[in-house]
């Protein structure tokens, strides 16, 4: 059996912004973990908020940090943050201009198909539900990650300029809580990335090459 001919998949803009994010985000997280170590708790010094935080009072191992000391962490974080924001805006601009957002945005009508898809993955449903370019679960994931990116930026600004943007800081419950939400976004990013990479490798490894070259060679799913 021969492979189907390669098809064009992932526009140059998508590939560029995808890989820029893949580079910038680990740098932002590592420098953020460096910054966290200067005050590794949330809330008032004497009386931290009772928020779940397995790393309370801890600093992260050296391999996970970028910057070497607080000032170094801050300089890395602030240098990488703007390219991260711009990359996100370029990606969203691309989706808006090309109308691609239609195949990616999770809408209420995707709820039922998402459930069907989940049942299929859990082997509680025999047939692969019909789908467009992306299935409803993918839409959910790709919508959620954009929302997460926006939240990480918004909470970041809330703790960067808590006086000048006090309305934004107040929206997240004040400086101390905004700092916590900013920290929480890190772990959701990490969780998403682990799942994302695992699914690519297990379900559709050919898409990895397509994300690099722009050409998809193979059949979907790759291992059927």
């Amino acid at each position: 059996m021969t492979d189907p001919p390669p098809v064009k998949r992932y526009h140059g803009f998508v590939r560029l912004t995808h890989w820029l994010t893949a580079i910038l985000l680990p740098g932002l997280i590592a420098s953020g973990l460096q910054i966290y170590g200067a005050f590794p708790q949330f809330g008032p010094r004497s009386d931290p908020y009772p928020l779940p935080n397995p790393w309370a009072g801890e600093s992260f191992p050296e391999w996970a940090r970028l910057g070497g000391w607080l000032a170094g962490g801050l300089n890395w974080h602030f240098a990488l943050a703007w390219p991260f924001v711009i990359t996100g805006l370029v990606y969203l601009g691309f989706l808006a201009v090309t109308g691609e957002w239609r195949s990616l945005l999770f809408r209420p009508r995707d709820l039922r198909p998402a459930l069907d898809m989940q049942l299929y993955y859990l082997r509680l449903r025999r047939e692969h539900p019909p789908q467009g370019k992306h299935n409803a679960l993918q839409k959910g994931a790709y919508t959620a990650i954009v929302v997460l990116g926006a939240l990480s930026v918004a909470t970041g600004f809330a703790i960067y300029k808590p006086v000048q943007l006090s309305w934004l800081t107040a929206l997240f419950g004040g400086f101390e809580l905004a700092r916590y939400w900013h920290f929480v976004t890190v772990w959701i990013f990490v969780g998403f990335t682990v799942l994302h990479v695992a699914l690519v490798l297990l379900v559709d490894p050919a898409s990895l090459r397509a994300m690099i070259t722009g050409w998809y060679r193979g059949r979907f799913p790759s291992h059927d």
Binding site: I23, L24, P26, G27, L28, A30, Q34, I35, Y36, A38, F39, P44, R45, S46, E62, W63, A64, R65, L66, G67, G68, W69, L70, A71, G72, L74, N75, W76, F78, A79, L80, W82, P83, Y160, K161, P162, V163, Q164, L165, S166, F175, E176, R179
Partner: protein, 243 residues
């Protein structure tokens, strides 16, 4: 514009190229090394510019808190360079006076009594430390803008610098932040004269800056043409530090 920021397009490109491998190896608490670390600092000047020209409002006031929200004083950290080195707080020089000088028409020397007689501002605000903690306290003092009004800076004055008797601690400031109505030279904390560890007899205070910009043990406030760095700023901390 490139010149005033000290960053060229080539620097941007280099930084971008380096950011990739740098963050992939995220490795090992790397500050960027001798090659990149200065680039990162140069990039920081863009953030300083954005922070001053775009984010900073000359009239927006930091929120004030009720007195009941004050942080217990023993939990409101205080430090000084002299204390860190020698376990004693710096002693004001005999006959201490505040000097206001540099690029001004009429340089001033002010005693504590003269400062106490000038218009005063008092507020209960949140202190933001670069480390990530906050604390609330009440500060009382003379607005820096009032002192500028007395000294009358010359048109070529573009920055301020504050010097201290704390082992050479100093800070350079942008004029916009310094002239903010809540930027004061404070002589009282929580309704009492400044304690030794808080920077007595006079310290800079402002809720629109991080704590390390708030020079304690102030001796001199001078208007300058050049941008002065500061104790932490020269070691790599962001210069503007506006919140």
């Amino acid at each position: 514009m490139t010149d005033s920021l000290g960053v060229s397009r080539r620097d941007f490109l280099r930084l971008g190229l380096a950011a990739g491998p740098a963050s992939l190896v995220a490795a090992c608490g790397w500050d960027g090394g001798p090659l990149l670390e200065p680039r990162l600092r140069a990039f920081g000047r863009i953030n300083d510019w954005v922070g001053e020209k775009i984010f900073l409002s000359r009239s927006r006031l930091a929120p004030e808190y009720p007195i009941s929200d004050r942080t217990a004083e023993r939990l409101f950290p205080a430090y000084s360079i002299t204390y860190n080195r020698r376990r004693i707080y710096p002693e004001p020089p005999r006959g201490w006076e505040l000097e206001v000088n540099g690029l001004v028409r009429s340089p001033q020397r002010l005693t504590r009594e003269m400062l106490a007689g000038l218009p005063r501002v008092s507020y209960t605000v949140k202190h933001h430390c670069v480390e990530g903690w906050t604390a609330i306290g009440t500060w009382t003092g003379v607005p820096v803008s009032v002192l500028a009004g007395l000294a009358r800076p010359l048109p070529e004055a573009r920055y301020l610098r504050f010097d201290s008797f704390d082992s050479g601690y100093s800070n350079g400031w942008d004029l916009a932040s310094a002239m903010h109505p809540q930027t004061i030279l404070a002589y009282a904390f929580n309704d009492r004269p400044l304690a030794r560890e808080r920077g007595a007899p006079l310290r800079l205070y402002s809720p629109v800056k991080l704590g390390y910009k708030l020079t304690k043990y102030v001796t001199t406030m001078s208007f300058t043409r050049e941008r002065h760095g500061g104790f932490w700023e020269d070691q790599g901390y962001p210069w503007l530090a506006g919140v």
